[in-house]
């Protein structure tokens, strides 16, 4: 055999061998290890005490009872009252508007969404739209899209509308428990300076945000842990002297309708349990200290001497807690595909970009989305409606489900539906959807 033949053959054999040695190639994950989800435990230290049975005075008997006077509750009360139903609204603080006003979360987000031609269009009308309009007329609202409002003006406007519509208002009052008769809520125990009382009612709307009422009524729900913050406002922003030697730009938040006053959002600690009162109290305490210290730091920075802490929110900024397990769970997919529902009660817009099917959809291009009546309906209780951030949607939609604009829309829908159910003496579950939509449109709502 010639030398070169030998080399050639060696090469060929080598090639063959490599081929033979070749093993199947596919990269697999190394041992998969997934951490389980942590289930929160509220400590009661294992001890309990039995409350003695007692007689509770009945404060009133009404048609519609709304617990929670935030954006959803206020809109619901006005809507229900406008349909002619006698309406009671129970609010734990001294103002209407909840986190929007007292919580100082001033932007009315997602007033606009993109239509099918990708044009931005206002979608929040009806009672929420009316509130927004009145604030504009007062000159207490800046930006056309997702306006930032003045909290005191918003409290005033809501008060005005509640008074005009004849809602019976109970401030400084908690909805303490439900009075159940099978699957029907006969009324709600309330707790206040007057002690424990009961309000009997035909329909209850849960606008507590945390879903306290549907929790007590025995509905199923999802509990979400989220960041909790505390918003504050700074004054004298217009007196910051940028030309002062040693001036450094400090973070002083965003403008409000009042010149010289800024609102400062706080993201706060992550994954907080909003249903644990000890935790909430701790956060409240910590945040107050941190905000004060931070404002002092700003005041010590050259040019910022006159800046002062105007106020901290009277309500801690709980973003999410309970989410109802309702008749229909609204999905992100629904919100991205112009899904239309027969029982639409309103539309909401968008304010953040999302990743949808692996691609970015900027907030300006995100569709407006319909909210069906069914997602306000609990599965078990006969005469309960849920509005506000705890209505039934999937977690992927949380950024759009939890904000003021959506609360106003769901509140309006729930209020009108409750009023109609009382008027027609029917259950909220088999309400005439056509009539509901007709009345909503008469009340100025936009249904797509």
């Amino acid at each position: 055999m010639k030398r070169r033949d030998f080399f050639t053959k060696v090469l060929i054999t080598g090639g063959g061998l490599t081929l033979g040695m070749g093993c199947k190639r596919r990269i697999e994950p190394s041992s998969a290890e997934k951490s389980g989800t942590i289930i929160p435990v509220i400590e009661s230290h294992g001890r309990t005490i039995r409350e003695p049975e007692r007689l509770i005075p009945i404060l009133a008997e009404t048609d519609v009872l709304i617990i929670g006077g935030g954006p959803a509750g206020a809109a619901a009360a006005i809507a229900a009252s406008r349909t002619g139903a006698e309406t009671y609204l129970v609010e734990r603080y001294n103002h209407l508007g909840g986190l929007w006003t007292g919580g100082l979360v001033l932007p009315l987000l997602s007033t606009h969404g993109a239509d099918k031609q990708k044009r931005r269009k206002q979608v929040i009308f009806g009672i929420g739209g009316e509130m927004s309009k009145r604030l504009v007329d007062l000159g207490m609202s800046i930006h056309e899209e997702s306006p930032v409002v003045d909290p005191e003006a918003a409290k005033y406007v809501l008060e005005e509308m509640i008074r005009e519509s004849g809602v019976k208002m109970l401030y400084h009052t908690w909805g303490a428990n439900v009075i159940m008769d099978g699957n029907v809520i006969k009324g709600v125990y309330i707790e206040s300076k007057s002690g424990r009382m009961a309000i009997l009612t035909k329909v209850v709307i849960d606008c507590t945000g945390d879903g306290d009422i549907f929790h007590m009524a025995g509905e199923n729900y999802d509990v979400m842990q989220y960041a909790i913050g505390l918003v504050h406002r700074l004054g004298n922003i217009d007196r910051i002297k940028t030309d002062k030697p040693g001036y450094v730009k400090m973070n002083t938040g965003g403008p409000t309708p009042i010149p010289g006053v800024n609102w400062v959002n706080m993201w706060g600690r992550e994954n907080q349990d909003a249903l644990d009162i000890e935790n909430l109290s701790q956060l409240q305490s910590d945040y107050r200290m941190e905000i004060w210290n931070n404002v002092q730091k700003i005041r010590q920075t050259p040019g910022h001497e006159e800046v002062f802490l105007l106020d901290t929110a009277s309500q801690i900024g709980v973003r999410m807690s309970r989410i109802l397990d309702g008749e229909y769970r609204l999905t992100l997919e629904d919100s991205m595909t112009y899904r239309s529902f027969d029982d639409v009660i309103g539309l909401s817009g968008s304010w953040t970009p999302v990743l949808y099917k692996g691609k970015k959809i900027p907030s300006s291009k995100r569709p407006f989305w319909q909210i069906p009546y069914r997602s306000l309906l609990p599965k078990l209780t006969e005469n309960l409606l849920v509005a506000g951030r705890c209505f039934c949607f999937e977690r992927e939609l949380v950024e759009d489900g939890r904000i003021i604009g959506t609360c106003l829309v769901t509140g309006h829908g729930a209020g009108t539906a409750a009023g109609l159910a009382v008027k027609n003496n029917s259950s909220v579950k088999d309400i005439d959807i056509k009539e509901l939509k007709k009345v909503l449109i008469q009340q100025g709502a936009f249904l797509g």
């Binding site: 010639k2 070169r4 033949d5 080399f7 050639t8 090469l11 060929i12 080598g14 090639g15 490599t18 081929l19 040695m21 070749g22 093993c23 199947k24 190639r25 596919r26 990269i27 697999e28 994950p29 190394s30 998969a32 960041a227 973070n251 938040g253 965003g254 400062v264 959002n265 706080m266 993201w267 706060g268 600690r269 992550e270 910590d286 945040y287 941190e290 905000i291 210290n293 931070n294 730091k297 953040t352 970009p353 999302v354 990743l355 099917k357 692996g358 691609k359 970015k360 900027p362 907030s363 950024e399």
Partner: protein, 395 residues
């Protein structure tokens, strides 16, 4: 009827199928499946990576066919062969090119031997790669580099107008490989059947010896000369290292056509001529989906190695870097987009000093650089940079 039957012979049909599979029609795993038929790509890939995937069996089957029927692939399946023949038909001249050496055979053998020792040399001359690569024309904008590469297939056809049959007969490495296989067959036959008169003598051992020697030399030397260090290209997951990738990748464009979020784009940066037209990830409006391994399933050369979807948490494409200055969170605005979009739980919100200074922080042990956060960030303050491992080569 007769006409239709005549038109629809295997080769024409094959051409049509090849075109359909090469078009950007989101055919998922079927995209560019034709490339797997090429035994040249298959052998280069298997030799270089010393491992196999299931689809390599297609190439093996073709190799078997070729072993029994001379140039079976060229005559029955090759879409480039079909189109070259059509163009050659327009020209009245015919040449046999007896004087021209078999460049194809040289390309094939040199490339294969070189890939045995590490680096395949001429995969990009595979006709199926040229054919498929041409169809990348339908995705993305134009740059001089892109046009240069797109011209390959039309240029081939143009060449055939003047020199009919030249590519298929003399230059094509896939054709050359088939000729070499035929030589092997004759060689084997010569060993078993002695003195068969009338058969043409196959290429002498000497020529193969020189080809193999050139391949060996090239295989050893080329990686030393063409160092791709400092390349800051973000490759698809499970890609080979930069030196190997640039030569193993056949520029067929299948990965960029199959990518469901359209983030795989050809490199056209003149700073990296070696990497021209190889895939890179551009995170503009899409990210590398956590539930997708399509690019790895279509890559015929294994430059993007096959991986399972579950392995994605360990395949580091790059790493996310946040420019905090514009971050909404640091400016006390409401935003959770990066954290929410991270499927690998690699982003935490951490208070730095004061709770009002909460900022997103990336856990590099978990961040694979999929780009979800970078894409969704409303302030565009997240950037995906090449993984740390690549930077180590520099130091």
């Amino acid at each position: 009827m007769k006409n239709i039957v005549r038109i629809l012979n295997l080769r024409t049909l094959s051409f049509m199928v090849a075109v359909i599979l090469a078009l950007p029609l989101s055919l998922k795993g079927w995209t560019g499946i034709y490339l797997w038929l090429s035994p040249f790509i298959m052998l280069n890939s298997v030799f270089a990576l010393k491992s196999l995937v299931f689809l390599n069996s297609l190439g093996l089957i073709i190799l078997l066919f070729v072993l029994f029927r001379k140039r079976w692939f060229c005559n029955n399946l090759c879409p480039v062969g079909w189109s070259c023949d059509k163009v050659s038909g327009l020209s009245r001249k015919t040449y046999s090119y007896r004087q021209v050496p078999d460049f194809g055979k040289w390309l094939a053998i040199t490339s294969l031997v070189a890939s045995l020792v590490g680096i395949p040399l001429f995969v990009i001359f595979d006709p199926l790669a040229i054919f498929n690569g041409f169809f990348t024309i339908f995705s993305g904008g134009f740059t001089p580099v892109k046009i240069l590469f797109y011209d390959f297939f039309p240029g081939l056809l143009l060449m055939h107008l003047f020199l009919p049959g030249i590519w298929c007969k003399k230059i094509c490495p896939l054709g050359g490989l088939q000729l070499a296989v035929d030589d092997v067959r004759s060689g084997v036959r010569k060993l078993t059947v002695r003195d068969e008169p009338g058969r043409s003598v196959p290429d002498s051992g000497r020529r193969y010896f020189v080809m193999a020697g050139a391949g060996l030399l090239a295989g050893f030397m080329v990686p030393r000369i063409l160092r791709s260090e400092g390349e800051t290209i973000i490759r698809p997951p499970a890609s080979a290292g930069p030196d190997l990738f640039n030569l193993l990748c056949c520029r067929c464009g299948s990965c960029s056509r199959t990518c469901p979020t359209n983030i795989i784009k050809p490199v056209t940066d003149t700073a990296y001529p070696l990497a021209w037209m190889t895939p890179q990830l551009i995170f503009v409006d899409g990210y590398c989906l956590e539930s997708c391994n399509l690019c790895s399933t279509v890559c015929p050369t294994g430059a993007i190695s096959l991986f399972s979807v579950e392995a994605k948490a360990e395949l580091f494409i790059g790493k996310a870097e946040i420019e905090l200055k514009n971050c909404l969170l640091l400016n006390n605005k409401e935003c959770i987009k990066c954290k929410e979009s991270c499927k690998f739980e690699a982003i935490d919100f951490v208070a730095s000093g004061n709770i009002l200074n909460t900022v997103p922080v990336i856990n590099f042990k978990r961040c694979v650089g999929c780009g979800a956060c970078a894409v969704v960030c409303p302030q565009d303050c997240i950037l995906i940079t090449p993984p740390v491992a690549d930077l180590k080569i520099l130091s």
